[in-house]
């Protein structure tokens, strides 16, 4: 793998860029793999990368039904943070954040991880209490957090609505400075290039359509490009988990829902942080290209459609204007949807499954992008050792049966409320 650097850019420029090599191969699939990861999103690719890098397993395939990075990895609002309250989540997401901090150099691919700070606004005393609890917990876990009052927020983000005609005035906010955004596509591409260079076969346009089982084990993975024998199988297909599981008669505590996202016309820098609204569902940041990238709630009904409907858009935009009135005359150029793997307690499931050699990585709800490197790290560990890493022990599938849910919002077994 030719190293990416400024020197190489200059060198190649004099060759009219004719000498750049492929970022990843387009290999003919082999007959058999030690580990097959299904889904070439960030999680699948990171899992393959860390399986190869940390655990020395090289005979790995990542199967992707479309183009790599085309799932939620390629369509999310790219917020990265580790501001969780419950221990099972907090330590895991913090590990992930630490991996983000070194990901570009680890991959030799600039994923543009931009630690611009994530601020959650609070509008009532009870919300202040809630962010106080969360922030304090973070600090005791060794994670950075600051509580800002209205004055401090006003200084940082004068464009928020501090006027008198505001329905839910801003009372304070919780800031995680190490949080921020990353360039989503670059994450997928950088991971693909790095995994590929360690010998991982990334097979695109290869949809998994079934399995063959012997005993309590998957022996063959059937795909649109033929059948492969497998040692172990990992699911990393996000919103498609329910469907894939149904191919092997597995029912999971997951529902698929659409989440929409939006981008505005490109603008000169105006929003320098990630800001989330507390009196409605809305979050916004500005991409390096200049587009305001924002989103809100899911569309509420089960869906595999990757497209949403207008009522939710109206709701998101209304919340957006309540937070930043000056957005009103700006325009959106595009909006799209992704299919979310909403779990029953709002937290992910990473671990073993009822089938001996099948491992699950799902239930990311709308927060799995930030988990990408961490998820790969612990999933690779779980697959390689056939037991969970210390950081994903609590995020197992059995927790629902046992009454050990990891429910940050306390919303209960209603996936669309998380």
């Amino acid at each position: 793998m030719a190293k990416y650097s400024i020197f190489n850019i200059i060198k190649n420029a004099f060759n009219e860029d004719k000498n750049w090599a492929r970022a990843w191969r387009d290999p003919e699939p082999k007959k058999s793999y030690d580990v097959i990861i299904i889904g070439a999103g960030g999680h699948g690719l990171a899992s393959a990368f860390y399986l190869a890098k940390n655990h020395g397993i090289r005979n790995i395939a990542v199967l992707e039904k479309g183009y790599l990075g085309g799932g939620n990895t390629g369509r999310n609002t790219t917020i990265v943070r580790s501001n969780y309250m419950l221990d099972e989540n907090a330590h895991f997401y913090e590990k992930s954040l630490q991996l983000w901090e070194q990901l570009s150099s680890e991959l030799n691919y600039n994923v543009m991880f931009s630690q611009r700070g994530v601020l959650n606004l609070a509008h009532t005393d009870s919300q202040i209490d809630a962010i106080t609890r969360r922030g304090n917990t973070m600090r005791l876990n060794g994670i950075d957090a600051e509580l800002l009052d209205e004055k401090q927020i006003r200084k940082l983000m004068p464009y928020l609505d501090f006027s008198n005609d505001v329905r839910f005035p801003i009372k304070g906010g919780l800031l995680q400075r190490r949080g921020g955004t990353a360039r989503h596509d670059a994450v997928a591409w950088g991971l693909a290039r790095a995994a590929d260079s360690l010998g991982v076969d990334i097979i695109q346009n290869c949809e998994v359509i079934g399995f063959e089982e012997t005993g309590n084990k998957i022996t063959v993975v059937k795909t649109s490009r033929g059948n492969f024998n497998c040692g172990k199988v990992g699911f990393a297909v996000a919103g498609n988990t329910g469907h894939l599981a149904s191919l092997i008669n597995l029912k999971l505590p997951i529902e698929s829902h659409v989440l929409q996202a939006f981008v505005s016309e490109p603008l000169k820098p105006m929003i320098d942080h990630v800001v989330t609204f507390g009196a409605g569902h809305f979050y916004i940041s500005q991409s390096d290209k200049g587009g305001l990238v924002f989103g809100g709630d899911i569309d509420m009904y089960n869906s595999y459609a990757q497209k949403g409907n207008l009522p939710l858009i109206e709701e998101v935009v209304t919340a957006g204007l309540a937070m930043i009135p000056s957005l009103s005359r700006l325009r959106i150029t595009r909006h799209w949807g992704g299919v979310m793997d909403m779990s029953m307690d709002g937290s992910p499931i990473i671990g073993k499954s009822p089938i001996d050699n099948l491992y699950l990585n799902c239930g990311w709800c709308y927060g799995g992008f930030k988990a990408t490197p961490g998820s790969g790290w612990v999933f690779a560990h779980t697959i390689a050792n056939d037991e969970p890493h210390r950081l994903n022990k609590g995020l197992n599938l059995e927790r629902f049966k046992k009454g050990r849910m990891v429910d940050e919002r306390g919303a209960g077994p209603f996936p669309n409320r998380h």
């Binding site: 469907h243 029912k251 698929s256 009904y301 207008l310 009522p311």
Partner: protein, 99 residues
């Protein structure tokens, strides 16, 4: 917008409804520990199909009835609607169940 044909009120925007979810789940008897799995299944597990999904919506801004909807989760096409006791999938096959 999904336009849902409320069996009572007629076609309405889905924004008038509250989504409840999978309508195929049957609430088990409490029973003893042999029912534990049935309960786990009822409360937590979902078929989550890609394709036809029988689901419940409450017409909360209208007649407040719970309405059963047969919808394709891939295309969002609504194939049929009815009351909670109706079996829409059978109806689709023309084999309406008399309840």
């Amino acid at each position: 917008m999904l336009i849902i044909n409320c069996p009572l009120c007629g076609p309405r925007d889905h924004a008038e409804f509250t989504y409840v979810g999978d309508a195929t789940k049957n609430r088990p008897e409490n029973g003893d520990s042999s029912n534990d799995h049935a309960w786990y299944d009822f409360v937590y597990l979902r078929d989550n199909p890609k394709g036809l999904h029988e689901e419940l919506w409450q017409h909360s801004f209208g007649c407040r009835c719970f309405v059963k909807v047969l919808r394709n989760t891939l295309t969002h096409e609504i194939i049929a609607t009815g009351m909670p006791k109706d079996n829409l999938i059978l109806k689709e096959k023309g084999l309406e169940l008399s309840v």
